[in-house]
Subunit: 468 residues, 2 copies
Amino acid sequence: MMEEVKDKDKFSGWYLKILEDAGLIDSRYPVKGMVVYKGWGLFIIRQMQRHLEKLLEEAGHEPVLFPVLIPDDILGKETKHIAGFEEQVFWVTHAGANELERRLALRPTSETAIYETFRLWIRSHQDLPLKIHQSCAVYRYETKHTRPLIRGREFLWNEGHSAHIDDEDAMRNIEEIKEIYGKLIRDILCIPFIVSRRPEWDRFPGATDTFAFDTIMPNDKTLQIATIHNLGQNFSRAFEITYEDEKGEHKYVHQTSYGPSFGRLLAALVSIHGDEKGLVLPPEISPIQCIIVPLFFKGTDKERIQRYAEDVGKKLNEAGIRNHIDSRDERPGNKFYYWEMKGVPLRIEVGPRDMERNELTVVRRDTGKRSQLKFDRVSEIPKIFDEITENLRKTAQKRFDQRFFKIGSMEELSKNSGRGILSLGWCGNDECAEKIERYVDILSVNNDRGTCIVCGRDGKEVNAANTY
Amino acid sequence: MMEEVKDKDKFSGWYLKILEDAGLIDSRYPVKGMVVYKGWGLFIIRQMQRHLEKLLEEAGHEPVLFPVLIPDDILGKETKHIAGFEEQVFWVTHAGANELERRLALRPTSETAIYETFRLWIRSHQDLPLKIHQSCAVYRYETKHTRPLIRGREFLWNEGHSAHIDDEDAMRNIEEIKEIYGKLIRDILCIPFIVSRRPEWDRFPGATDTFAFDTIMPNDKTLQIATIHNLGQNFSRAFEITYEDEKGEHKYVHQTSYGPSFGRLLAALVSIHGDEKGLVLPPEISPIQCIIVPLFFKGTDKERIQRYAEDVGKKLNEAGIRNHIDSRDERPGNKFYYWEMKGVPLRIEVGPRDMERNELTVVRRDTGKRSQLKFDRVSEIPKIFDEITENLRKTAQKRFDQRFFKIGSMEELSKNSGRGILSLGWCGNDECAEKIERYVDILSVNNDRGTCIVCGRDGKEVNAANTY
């Protein structure tokens, strides 16, 4: 985000406008909290999904797809889980003119649907670990203010579920998933993040531990983009998921579940890399990686330039680069603005002089830098993509790193709340937490080396921030 | 299907068993008519989806994704449409503990959700044609007997929707979609079909015309696998979708909608190509295209053979062929049976003799034919895939073509109903149709050159069959 747009008041308006202008979504759908995904946005989400699914499947996680409806009694089997979700569940009660005998929930998450089936799939220790994942939409009746892609009532994600012989193997899976999500979020999407172990009151309902991936948005609020839960044996006891170990004893499995939100990842991608001209997309996930703009000046041979542009397009196709030739009857400047707004990483201009010299003019979206490239060297463009990716990652990381502050008192807290992620001391008592949480939410308890900024007692060092 | 399995009584049991044995789905999910898609089945569906989406997008159809929930009043805007679907709609009436102000339908199909938005997207003739598509699940409360993948209450499909300036352009789109579906169904899935113009009483609710793709299952029943509807101006009038033409006049758009069912395509794929050993998959959509089985005989150097198998795997990877090495501690015969059951098109056996000769033993799933291939000629395997595809297509087409019969009397009808697609005469009157439909459903009215087999009057020639 450039300075101009980084202004906190302007950010919100900029964000809503660019989602529509760039053709990512249409938020006029007549159900609150539900949006229409349009071509440009859907492509980016599908690319994220493909990358993630590939990483998961290479690590032995099997794809599945469970139904969207979960019977009432099954959703309610794990008591803390249903207590945490019951206010957010959409209920199907009728079909045609008939009332259903038992109401069906639109899945708010799929632990219960999937674990009812895990019981059937798991018999012996040889069936473990069982690691599955699905890309789907989930439904939550959010009562907070909804915001496109960030907080909706229908959202797209990938959810993973596993079962293990013991806690050690469950923890191994948690580390594996941290690494896989890191590859997607940092390496491919160029989004910086920290992983926090959430305090007890902020755990997923039914989990014994929750780890969350937080990034920082341009308005300095943190956005939770993915979570990983250690479920211990809470669900396996409720759903009777047991395995026979090598000695013939029946034991409850240990479980984990996890998921990134594709909507929130898209929101972070848009917000963190975007600037006053619009989107800036990492090449790996951009629907069009190179936009080719033929320059038709007065007196030039349009047809020859168009043919040259097409030759460039063919060459790019051969190199596996997604491209498009914009030959519309429009002024070049308008085309430049349009594709910059859409975030296309590289613009290739082909004018009469380029054609004569057998060259292309190449303009980077991230830096605006222009350079000349020989036609025969089109195959070097992936190297430029790597440079763009590297630059986006570094720039975002630098800005992220500048938003960590150490806070020593309540006065400092009141002055600095909302500036990013604050490190401060907390004694561990509820009353002091409440006072701190008037300004910020506690993201994680880091260690036992803090002095409480409320009461002055020895305690813990915690991270805290204004959160979405 | 081999003769043995073609037995009509046996087919149904064979079908249900192979779905589970091959790991396509699990039908024990505790909501009637909803199944769990497992890895093997989901991969095949995703491959179909990718091929179809690619064909659509190359022809200018844009991907979108609309919400699953449709408000009551919007679903009800086109009167014939809602009349046709109202008995099949799942209704969300509550969220958390609250009753919703207006109930929300789980989409049974998305015409109404999408056309409410088309009204916002379409302004002028320059916005037309508008052609979009989405891959998603839809929900219908089927009261008929449900059958996995064939008739369910949640099913996966791709639905396309278009808007045009006139009927001519709408018809052009219908022809384009016929061609695209044909490429998917015939060329890639090797499934034979006919396209029928459905009689009036069997049209999609709200359509002026419905064209259906029917294939024939091994029990000689026809299975409708895709449909295309001409919607005329029925929906554009109900949803006020107008455009300004070149003269500045406002006109209602002409529309079409269409969709293949991925579940039914998978059901047809399984049933039509399968045999007594299990699935037979066309290479293009098989999750694993080559299964490599190292043969460890007594006294052989296991490690060397394993390394040789890995070299073969690498070579296949380089050629972009999906492969897997089955090095489990199992007898080769068991492995052969297992992968034959899963339908893998090609088995590569590598034993000591193959290794010495720098060869592979290659066994086709469709014909069982064995041959030797030099290690350096692995790149020729795609040619074998083409031969397999061609063979599957021809074999299925031949069997399909043998199931058309001409019927001249009610007596012949009673003897031949259930043998495939019957051509017979019908006068056009309801009473005679009812008598015919005691035996068979009328699929299409072909021409005006028939003699009614009920009353003997001059009339139409129609196609009829026992349908799923």
